[in-house]
């Protein structure tokens, strides 16, 4: 087997010849060579219930290219040791790869200071970190936290808990009928001057809506508030450059963007992190330890207590290299082509209700829908019996479900390796649902 350390992602057939393309700001570039990309993802090549797998649950978690799996395996086969401690060769290698991964994240985000990149277990932990370490010491009764009805529970519950601890008040940006945030309400909410932080998703996991986070950030910051962007979906499905967003905190997870589970990132501006208390205490986050007190390590280690997810960080960096070589704009454009095809087919089916923006250009690769007379769980079970994997339920976004008066939806979510033929398989299997439920 090839040694992963000497096996850059450029060996992948999908990326051959694409090196000079890179991301193309403002344009979609040439279409993806999806068949070549599929060859990079071993898991896709299997049958489920007698049919070739059609994996359309990418908003829950993405599949991993072989280079990511091999990077993790290679780390454990050759380099594994604890970081920042040992004076031996393996620890040196492990530390180098782990810190190298941090550098990959920093440059991918477009930030210069790797000390602003904090490893976490995922977006959820990153948001909890901010709610605790920043929120507990900066909010008091009467302050306001601005959220939206579009948020995943991971970007709601930590703020509700913070509000309960501090007496701060929760405000919400509401949704229009098409699943887009009503920005016209923003000036009225901000004019009181009490919004200290706004926490907004970049891309809705339930509807796929691409939110205008830069515009929201501009207005919130003009009124003196800070802005956290939940990039759990955004990092995977939309181009991200922190300087263009004009925000203060960015949280994302590795597993939704071809990386492993259990690793994610909080990016925050250095002066904010410097002024925040640690989130957890333990090894690696201290400078000096005395009997009655301790002092904290420099950034980013102040926020990284305990042995970190070293292989996870290395795997995530490999995933970023892989996605970068394909190009975020091209991936989004590909997803939008699949969304357009799906919406067109579903609009032609009787009894289907589509949720979210009518214009596929306002979405990442998510199509949420219901079918009259058939519960989403039954849709998912029947689709699974034909090898088509989708999600059915509230998608950890109960405020979205309430807004549109449903308990659950069926959701197909796409990624760079999905094909138009797979969209057709989805549509064909929805025909089976119709046959059974009539």
């Amino acid at each position: 087997m090839a040694s992963p350390a000497t096996h850059p992602p450029t060996d992948s057939p999908a990326l051959a010849g694409s090196q000079s393309l890179g991301p193309r700001p403002g344009g979609s570039g040439p279409e993806l060579d999806v068949e070549a990309i599929r060859a990079d993802f071993p898991i896709l090549h299997q049958e489920v219930n007698g049919r070739p797998l059609v994996y359309l649950d990418n908003a829950a978690t993405s599949q991993k290219p072989a280079v990511v799996v091999e990077a993790i395996e290679g780390f454990y086969r050759r380099d594994n040791a604890n970081v920042h401690r040992g004076l031996h060769e393996l620890s040196r290698r492990s530390t180098e790869r782990y810190e190298g991964a941090r550098g990959v994240v920093a440059s991918w985000l477009g930030v210069e200071d790797p000390g602003e990149v904090i490893w976490t277990r995922g977006a959820t932990e990153a948001i909890n970190l901010v709610a605790r370490s920043w929120g507990d010491s900066h909010l008091r009764e009467g302050d306001e936290i601005l959220l939206t009805d579009l948020e995943h529970h991971s970007n709601l519950v930590p703020w509700q808990m913070l509000a309960a601890r501090t007496g701060a008040r929760l405000r919400y940006l509401e949704l229009d009928d098409e699943g887009e945030l009503i920005l016209d309400d923003l000036p009225r909410i901000l004019e009181g001057g009490r919004v200290r932080i706004a926490a907004i998703s970049q891309v809705s996991n339930a509807l796929g809506t691409l939110n205008p986070v830069a515009e929201i950030a501009r207005q919130v910051k003009a009124h003196g508030g800070l802005v956290l962007v939940d990039g759990a979906q955004g990092a995977a499905h939309a181009p991200v450059r922190i300087p263009d967003l004009g925000i203060d905190f960015y949280a994302f997870s590795g597993h939704k963007m071809c990386g492993p589970t259990g690793v994610g990132v909080l990016w925050a501006r250095r002066e904010l992190l410097e002024a925040m208390e640690p989130f957890q205490g333990g090894g690696d986050m201290i400078d000096e330890v005395h009997r009655d007190h301790s002092t904290w390590a420099q950034l980013p280690y102040k926020f990284e207590a305990g042995t970190p997810n070293i292989s996870g960080a290395i795997g995530l960096a490999e995933a970023i290299r892989y996605l970068n070589a394909v190009g975020a704009e091209r991936i989004l454009a590909h997803e939008q082509r699949l969304v357009r095809r799906t919406m067109k087919a579903l609009e032609a089916m009787p009894g289907i209700r589509l949720f979210g923006p009518g214009d596929p250009a306002h979405r990442a690769g998510v199509v949420s829908f219901t079918m009259e007379g058939t519960h989403p769980h039954d849709i998912a079970t029947i689709l699974d019996s034909e090898g088509v994997a989708i999600r059915a339920g509230h998608h950890c976004a109960q405020l979205v479900m309430k807004r549109y008066g449903v308990a659950a939806t069926a959701r197909a979510s796409f990624y760079l390796y999905n094909t138009e033929a797979e969209v057709d398989r989805l549509v064909e299997s929805l025909g089976t649902v119709r046959e059974i439920f009539g």
Binding site: G373, T374, H375, P376, H377, D378, T381, I382, S385, A392, G393, H394, Q398, M401, A407, A408, T432, I436, F437, G438
Partner: protein
């Protein structure tokens, strides 16, 4: 798939029996259960007199399996003694976990059409949701009698 979604199940899903509310008095108990991962919910009411289910009604929202199962359950349990109802619960739970002997028990009546659900582990909890409510309701009723 058609083995799972039998006509009887679809019929109870589309035309649920005993759906509605009982007029509350001293002999009614009510339990509300919810499956937090999928959002299915059932509100079950029993009227228990002399240890016998005199009347039973439910309101619910969820998939065909959860709603058909609770609908069938109500038709079988109306008029049964609580001990018999506990027995049906045990048999049905056994059937959901693959007990073939339980699946042949005529006491399960129409509920036997749900036997196929046992081959779909992620859906078993749907089928059992109504029985979860039933057990809670019967315990509540008994503890009230004893109290």
């Amino acid at each position: 798939m058609k083995a799972l979604y039998q006509q009887l199940i679809l019929d109870h899903y589309r035309n649920p029996r005993n759906r509605g509310e009982l007029e509350e008095d001293g002999s009614t108990v009510e339990i509300h259960v919810r499956n937090p991962t999928c959002g299915d919910e059932i509100r079950l009411q029993l009227r228990v007199e002399e240890d016998r289910i005199q009347d039973i009604k439910f309101l619910g929202d969820g998939c065909s399996i959860s709603q058909a199962a609770v609908s069938m359950m109500t038709t079988i349990l109306k008029g049964k003694e609580l001990d018999e109802a506990f027995g049906v619960t045990r048999r049905f739970t056994g059937m959901m976990h693959g007990d073939e002997e339980a699946a042949r028990d005529p006491a399960l009546g129409n509920l036997r059409s749900l036997a196929g659900v046992s081959r779909f582990p992620v859906r078993v909890k749907c089928a059992l949701l109504g029985f979860e409510a039933l057990q809670e309701a019967m315990k509540k009723s008994r503890s009230r009698e004893e109290g």
